[in-house]
């Protein structure tokens, strides 16, 4: 039995008071909030795409939320939040100007350095596009550092698509291919229908020179990995964002333990090679 690494004692980052600078509704239950430092207080910390923060709504609770943008502009954080419980409901219904506590950033980031000079394929499902948005923005901001960018995005229905305007903007850029699909649609939808893995039929990959970044429901990620394997993309070039049951963000509470890892501390972005033994386990 392999030893489980013991979390090193660490002081949690100081909570910073932020203000809601903007809020936009993405879908029926999902909103994108832009936060900026409140008044003369400390600035919001720098972060790397893929990391997350603990956001605190006064008197309601704290929750881990992936940072989905802001790194390119600096000074602001963007969070896309789905209302699924008391704390997220309160957060997405914050008024403009409302105060929110921010601790972080926590966790690992997407391998943007490793991907330099290579093609990048991003595969996202549902709200899984949110943690990848910052990485896509970074790649587009430093366009000459990367090769071809392919974004494959699947959602439940056309109404559930995030960042519609941005998806269209990304797709118009050179050396960028954005393919979107939904699981179900009515007759007004002119786009693709089918699960996200069906989009692989329409892309050509250079397997030796591609880095894959995936985020979505775990079953979806497993099938995406299989499609990449069929196209000979090496396991070592595949990265996943796991977002299981994170609570404390410090690896203390154990809620997010996955085999020998704590997702909040050792992840949420993992090389697939580390996740391979654990992805299809019913309990790990």
């Amino acid at each position: 039995m392999s030893a489980i690494p013991v979390a090193a004692p660490a002081l949690p980052p100081q909570m910073i008071a932020a203000r809601v600078a903007g809020i936009a509704q993405e879908t029926s239950d999902t909103y994108t909030l832009t936060l900026e430092a409140a008044g003369e207080g400390p600035a919001l910390p720098a972060f790397q795409p893929g990391q997350f923060s603990m956001l605190y709504v006064c008197g309601v609770g704290e929750m881990p939320i992936s940072i989905s943008g802001g790194s390119v502009e600096g000074g602001r954080h963007v969070y896309t939040v789905r209302s699924v419980g008391k704390a997220t409901h309160a957060l997405v219904h914050s008024a403009k100007g409302a105060m929110v506590g921010v601790r972080g950033p926590f966790g690992t980031a997407w391998p943007l350095e490793e991907a330099r000079g290579k093609d990048v394929i991003v595969a996202a499902g549902g709200i899984g596009l949110a943690p990848l948005r910052g990485a896509i923005e970074q790649i587009l901001h430093n366009r000459s550092d990367y090769g071809h960018l392919v974004v494959l995005y699947g959602a439940r229905s056309p109404r559930d698509l995030l960042y519609r305007k941005q998806l269209a903007e990304w797709g118009r850029k050179k050396k960028v291919e954005v393919l979107v699909t939904v699981d179900y649609a009515g007759e007004k939808w002119r786009g693709n229908v089918g699960v996200v893995t069906t989009l692989f039929r329409y892309v050509r990959l250079n397997p030796e020179g591609t880095v894959a970044m995936i985020c979505g429901p775990e079953i979806m990620m497993r099938y995406v990995v299989r499609e990449l394997a069929r196209r000979a993309v090496p396991d070592e070039a595949i990265y996943l964002s796991m977002e299981r049951n994170m609570k404390c963000a410090l690896g203390f509470c154990g809620h997010c333990q996955l085999g020998p890892y704590f997702v909040c501390k050792d992840g949420p972005v993992f090389p697939y090679t580390a996740m391979r033994p654990w992805l299809d386990k019913h309990e790990a």
């Binding site: 789905r82 699947g154 699981d183 007759e187 089918g194 079953i219 099938y223």
Partner: protein, 158 residues
């Protein structure tokens, strides 16, 4: 489309990838190019249409009618096949196919293809192997769709 261009198009098809030259030739002899304009119904649910298509360009939606609405269950595009059930004698079409964009395709008579399979079992085996792969891939995709992976957590199956 000239025979040479036809053979090139068939060679480039993912569906026929790896098929021997003589088998490609055999298929080419049965192919005819067709075009559909946007929003054209290619076949309807229940049709006894015995045609099989390989799409060269454009996008086609497979739809099912429900009271007062049409549900799109899948789209197929360049390099995909459409109407595989025409290779199996019997039932009519399960879905309606509608072109979402202008479509170019190669069309085959399912009965003629089946006859060719019976006359040349090696050809038939290779063609049916590809059909089974298509059916398997679509079955897997349908199962994933049924899982409703993007539903909010807490929505439980009974």
């Amino acid at each position: 489309m000239e025979t040479k261009a036809l053979i090139e198009a068939l060679r480039g098809s993912q569906f026929l990838e790896g098929l021997k030259q003589n088998h490609i030739q055999k298929i080419a002899e049965m192919a005819m190019e067709v075009q559909f304009s946007r929003d054209q119904i290619i076949f309807r649910e229940g049709d006894e249409c015995g045609l099989f298509y390989l799409l060269l360009s454009g996008k086609v939606a497979l739809e099912i009618s429900a009271p007062g609405r049409i549900v799109r269950v899948q789209t197929v595009g360049e390099g995909d096949e459409l109407g595989w059930s025409s290779l199996l004698a019997g039932d009519g079409k399960q879905f309606q196919a509608r072109s979402l964009e202008p479509v170019r395709a190669l069309v085959f008579d399912g009965t003629r293809l089946r006859q060719a399979c019976e006359e040349d079992p090696a050809f038939g085996y290779n063609l049916m192997l590809r059909i089974v792969k298509v059916v398997s891939r679509r079955l897997q995709a349908t199962r994933l769709q049924l899982l409703d992976l993007y539903a909010p957590r807490g929505v439980k199956l009974v």
